[in-house]
């Protein structure tokens, strides 16, 4: 998502089987959640389990999306960049599921309570901002939008970094009150490495 799919380097077409494989793999967490609720895999509090899982997967796909251009730069693996749009859209898909679960099963569409939640709780606000950062990226992910926006597309899609930082912050603030930030710390380190790689890459115009 961070830069054009039609980058300067032609990476060749993605083989259909790889595309399909990734598409199916991306749906697995969703199916796991549905089946889990249906067949009682998710323990005593299935609502909590699916809310958390969807948030986790939104963040994981976001990091995977960011990983692809690093892989191209570091390992010369170019196919990944061509799969990036799907990864980014999966991040958005799970974010949508996550937000819908919150609106429905946590708040039952009580808009006053939701408004209070956003205003009073920095952890919710961070999640909302992360979501709002992802939204325009998903909306402009089509080839037509890419062409229409030209160079502004790339600038717009830098929002992915804001989304990543805000999502990690969201996770961190949520876990902080439970005195266990080990998981958000792991994501923060991974995001940090991906950002660091980009800073280093700036000195190498070869990309």
């Amino acid at each position: 998502m961070a830069s054009s799919l039609l980058g300067r380097q032609t990476a060749g077409r993605v083989p259909a089987w790889l595309w399909l494989l990734l598409f199916c793999a991306g749906l697995l967490p969703f199916l796991h959640g549905l089946l889990g609720v249906w067949l009682h895999w998710l323990g005593a509090n299935p609502v909590e389990a699916v809310t958390r899982a969807s948030g986790d997967w939104a963040l994981r796909f976001l990091l995977l999306t960011l990983l692809m251009s690093s892989l191209r730069r570091r390992l010369g693996w170019r196919l990944g960049v061509r799969l990036r749009r799907m990864l980014g859209l999966y991040a958005f898909f799970y974010a949508v599921v996550h937000v819908l679960l919150y609106l429905w099963l946590d708040q039952f569409f009580d808009w006053v309570a939701i408004g209070e939640d956003i205003l009073e709780r920095p952890f919710i606000l961070a999640g909302l901002l992360a979501f709002l950062a992802l939204l325009p990226l998903a909306l402009t992910s089509t080839r037509t939008m890419m062409r229409r926006l030209g160079p502004r597309w790339k600038a717009l899609h830098r929002l992915v970094y804001a989304a990543g930082l805000l999502a990690v912050l969201h996770f961190w603030w949520m876990k902080e009150s439970k005195s266990d930030v080990s998981e958000p710390l792991l994501y923060a380190v991974l995001l940090g490495l991906l950002l660091l790689e980009r800073l280093v890459a700036r000195g190498h115009p070869a990309d």
Partner: protein, 304 residues
């Protein structure tokens, strides 16, 4: 008050189990609809079945698989997975502080002469979920009196066992070990305050705080500490684990109060485990009639 005889409970638990299952069906029905399209008429009928007005106990499975017991890990499933390593017998409880009969008491001695009774209590976790649990145990006050606390005893301080070999997560530093909780003397002597030794007529499972745990039903669950190894009569309000860690989030009193939000989430409603919609959280977790007088004149938003 939720006090029933064991015989009644057994009968109750059977009918309530069916209700519980039906509520569970609703969620499953939703997943089924999404999975298989809307063509599930049998499930649609389930979705509109009314919720019971009373508080049926949660299932043994839910009560023993969804626990906060950081000594065995921070995930809700960790205690059930990891608590096997806890050695509950022999078990000693150290009693010290402002009392005339301090000592190190084997659990058998403490239980001697204590008639075990059934108490079905609501448990409200500070995280926003709740359960109904059929405990077996005895009133804490009856035990405390045996140690003859002096007039200087104003608070009771409790410690969970400290033994990183038995409680593996104590090797890490998620919390300051051992886990410490405390009650004001009148709270400790209140007839609702229970020491539990069992649930569902079975020995307390390790993940629920075997062999002896506190149950204070009008306070958030973290006040009801598990696997008690030490009871101290003290003159000052004890420093408790969560309160010391984050005083603006976890007060010493931590009475269930829908009007005082946790800084990171509202406490106005709760998800009863096994139910689909949320319930309104009740003042003092529904035990206001019995305990509100303990806090007469106190500003509960200050002493939260």
């Amino acid at each position: 008050m939720f006090i029933r005889k064991p015989q009644q409970l057994t009968e109750n638990a059977v009918t309530d189990w069916a209700l519980y299952q039906r509520r569970r069906e609703f969620l499953r029905g939703m997943a089924g609809v999404i999975l298989l399209g809307a063509g599930w008429p049998g499930r649609a009928a389930v979705a509109t079945s009314p919720r019971p007005a009373d508080d049926p106990p949660n299932s043994w499975e839910d009560i023993t698989s969804y626990n906060n017991f950081y000594e065995f890990g921070t995930g809700k499933g960790d205690p059930a997975r990891n608590a096997r390593t806890l050695q509950t017998s022999p078990w000693d409880v150290v009693v010290d502080g402002e009392c005339t009969r301090p000592g190190k008491y084997p659990l058998e001695d403490l239980l001697k002469g204590m008639a075990i009774e059934e108490r079905i209590y609501r448990l409200r976790c500070v995280e926003g979920w709740s359960m109904v649990i059929p405990w077996q145990g005895f009133e804490l006050g009856r035990l405390l009196k045996r140690f003859e606390p002096t007039s200087r005893a104003k608070y009771v301080r409790f410690e969970t066992l400290l033994d990183p070999k038995q409680m593996p997560a104590q090797q890490g530093d998620v919390l300051d070990w051992p886990y410490v909780e405390g009650l004001r003397m009148d709270e400790a002597m209140h007839p609702l305050t229970l020491l539990a030794t069992g649930l569902y007529d079975k020995t307390l499972p390790n993940q629920n705080g075997a062999p002896l745990r506190l149950v204070v039903p009008w306070k958030y669950g973290f006040k009801s500490l598990k696997s008690i190894a030490r009871i101290s009569f003290v003159t000052e309000e004890p420093e408790t684990t969560w309160n010391r860690l984050s005083p603006e989030e976890y007060g010493f009193y931590s009475n269930v109060n829908p009007e005082v939000p946790h800084p990171r989430w509202s406490q106005a409603r709760e998800r009863r485990i096994g139910e689909f919609s949320k319930r309104k959280t009740l003042m003092f977790n529904g035990y206001a009639d019995q305990v509100a007088s303990l806090y007469a004149g106190m500003d509960l938003s200050l002493y939260f």
